[in-house]
């Protein structure tokens, strides 16, 4: 793609969505530029999927401003949707149709010619590593294959923005890595990606920039590295003293490292030098059942911001 200038693809200002009394999205602001991989990170119920549906121009906002590809989704829904690719959280392939037919009918919904689609389908089957399965019914595919087909289907119109709602939830590690590879290739080609996830490793792998959401609000915004730098230490020491002892031990080691987080099963010690923190603990005569030093992740950022873990 030639155009990689900083054109605004999505602009939200005070975006709000309520269902009766329930506030799903509570006045959020963000902007996505062309070619960016933008992430919405947060636990279930944070308002990520609702935000995605509003960007996808299928669910109308209750308040605020929203512009997708320079258009208002309330007024230009079909025009906007014609230029988007959507990969929903739940696969919604036509189960009666074969793999290639799913791509064909979907391409037809964009008014694409059969001749164009014939070539495009081959390309997408190859991309999704489903060439061998072209004649299988979609209901016969494994979870990972279905997901790849759904992503391939979302690319049939060569979208300006590809939206992926929890793209790898429910997949085994190998299937996740294949998917990440495919998505990374798209990103390299300059396709704008909007991804929701509650996996911090996924967000770190794929997103240039992300917002951390909780209870319909944005808690923080930045690149994964920026967020980690701002809200966490370089390293994290995880120590376990047994579920019954963690709380008592935490009081004794208070002051070691920059900050402590006590979880039901372990204590997290935030420090720029995890090994040194462990030494200090050992010097107090406390011996952890297990200990682990790792680098800080977005999970730690989330914990810091909300006091909760991502996956409850």
């Amino acid at each position: 793609m030639a155009n990689t200038s900083k054109e605004t693809m999505i602009l939200a200002r005070g975006l709000r969505k309520t269902y009766g009394e329930f506030v799903a999205v509570d006045g959020i602001d963000f902007e996505v530029k062309r070619g960016e991989a933008f992430g919405l990170l947060g636990p279930n119920g944070a308002g990520k999927s609702t935000t995605m549906k509003m960007i996808a121009a299928t669910s109308q906002r209750t308040g605020g401003e929203l512009s997708i590809l320079g258009k208002d989704p309330e007024l230009k829904g079909p025009e906007i949707r014609a230029h988007l690719g959507v990969v929903p959280q739940q696969d919604n392939l036509d189960r009666e149709l074969k793999v290639w037919e799913n791509l064909m009918v979907y391409g037809r919904y964009f008014g694409l010619s059969r001749k164009f689609l014939k070539g495009k389908i081959e390309e997408l089957l190859e991309f999704a590593q489903l060439t061998e399965k072209r004649n299988a019914k979609s209901e016969e595919l494994s979870g990972g294959m279905k997901r790849r087909l759904t992503i391939a289907r979302g690319l049939v119109n060569e979208p300006e923005i590809l939206m992926l709602d929890e793209p790898t939830t429910g997949l085994d590690p190998q299937a996740r890595h294949i998917l990440w590879d495919r998505l990374f290739r798209l990103k390299e080609q300059g396709v704008t990606l909007v991804i929701t996830t509650h996996y911090m490793d996924e967000a770190e792998q794929l997103c240039d920039r992300l917002i951390v959401m909780d209870k319909g609000r944005i808690m923080a915004e930045g690149s994964p590295a920026e967020l980690i730098k701002k809200y966490s230490s370089k390293e994290v020491l995880e120590v376990r003293f047994g579920s019954d002892n963690n709380k008592a031990v935490a009081e004794q080691i208070n002051g070691i490292g920059d900050r402590l987080e006590v979880l039901p099963d372990r204590i997290l010690v935030y420090s720029d030098n995890g090994e040194k923190a462990l030494e200090q603990i050992t010097k107090l005569g406390l011996h952890a059942i297990t200990s682990l030093v790792r680098r800080s992740s977005l999970e730690d950022v989330f914990l810091r911001l909300t006091g909760r873990t991502l996956i409850d």
Partner: protein, 290 residues
């Protein structure tokens, strides 16, 4: 570095040519023809079951015509002689009603279960709506495909009726129109109902037993509605089967009917169709937005 080299490095699995939706997709096309595109998908789905459609479409009338038409018909014809029902052979009297029922069944099958499928089973309506296609176009497309199935079902039935000598070829167009009209108006009501079902809790089995079957039995199908006691005749009056059958009888063998009654039959079916479709659009729009 040459282009070939770049492509080699990227690997065969990459999307090689990328025109981009802004150039590639003209939203005006799906916005204009979206209903036809949905109908195409539905018909593709139906073709997976073409053997069942064909077997059911032909088997049902053949069995019916042999047992009821010929069996009971010979009895009716023997007892009533030349003054048989409406002065025509019993099979000729029965044919429009059978066609109407076949049309209703065919159209209904294609709006009820596909709606459950689209919203609940494979959620394919949501994927349609993620494109430029609107909820209204999805409704229209599903109905168009249901009418296509309805036409096939009616044509098969007519072939059987012609083979049994129950109808003349010249009456086919009139009978077809009456039957399709009935299929459309009843299916639109069923469509409105299906669009509101969140779980398949056997509601269609209930509809089949307590609405379709009585409607078929008490709608002047086997005998004129006037032969029923007055307290049962109301079933015919609210039944699309009776109204459409009367249209079919008038058009196919010239059953005597006043212009007012003829218009009333057409009016009833039209109102049913308009009400049914109008009640189908809102739940589609609402559910697809959530």
């Amino acid at each position: 570095m040459g282009e070939t080299k770049v492509q080699e490095q990227l690997g065969a699995a990459d999307v090689r040519t990328w025109i981009g939706a802004a150039t590639l997709v003209d939203p005006a096309v799906p916005m204009r023809r979206g209903s036809l595109m949905i109908a195409e998908t539905r018909i593709r789905g139906m073709l997976k079951w073409w053997r069942s459609v064909l077997a059911f479409g032909l088997g049902n009338p053949v069995l019916y015509l042999m047992s009821v038409g010929i069996g009971i018909g010979s009895l009716v014809n023997k007892h009533m002689g030349a003054n048989g029902l409406d002065h025509v052979p019993y099979l000729t009297f029965l044919a429009p009603a059978l066609l109407v029922t076949a049309a209703i069944q065919g159209a209904m099958d294609e709006v009820t279960f596909p709606t459950l499928q689209g919203f609940n089973w494979d959620r394919s309506f949501y994927s349609m709506n993620a494109t430029a296609i609107s909820p209204r176009q999805i409704v229209n497309g599903v109905m168009l495909a249901a009418l296509a199935r309805c036409i096939v079902q009616v044509a098969l039935y007519e072939a059987a009726l012609i083979a049994f000598g129950a109808i003349s070829i010249s009456s086919v167009p009139a009978l077809t129109i009456g039957a399709i009209f009935a299929g459309f108006s009843f299916a639109s009501v069923m469509f409105a109902l299906s669009a509101r079902i969140k779980d398949d809790d056997g509601v269609f089995a209930i509809v089949g037993r307590f609405i379709i079957t009585p409607m078929f039995m008490f709608s002047g199908t086997y005998y004129p509605l006037a032969s029923l006691p007055i307290y049962l005749q109301w079933i015919g009056w609210i039944s699309p089967v009776w109204h459409a059958t009367q249209i079919g009888r008038a058009l196919s063998y010239g059953m005597p009917i006043s212009p007012e009654m003829f218009l009333l039959h057409i009016g009833f079916l039209s109102v049913l169709a308009v009400v049914g479709m109008s009640l189908t659009y809102p739940p589609f729009k609402k559910r697809l937005a959530n």
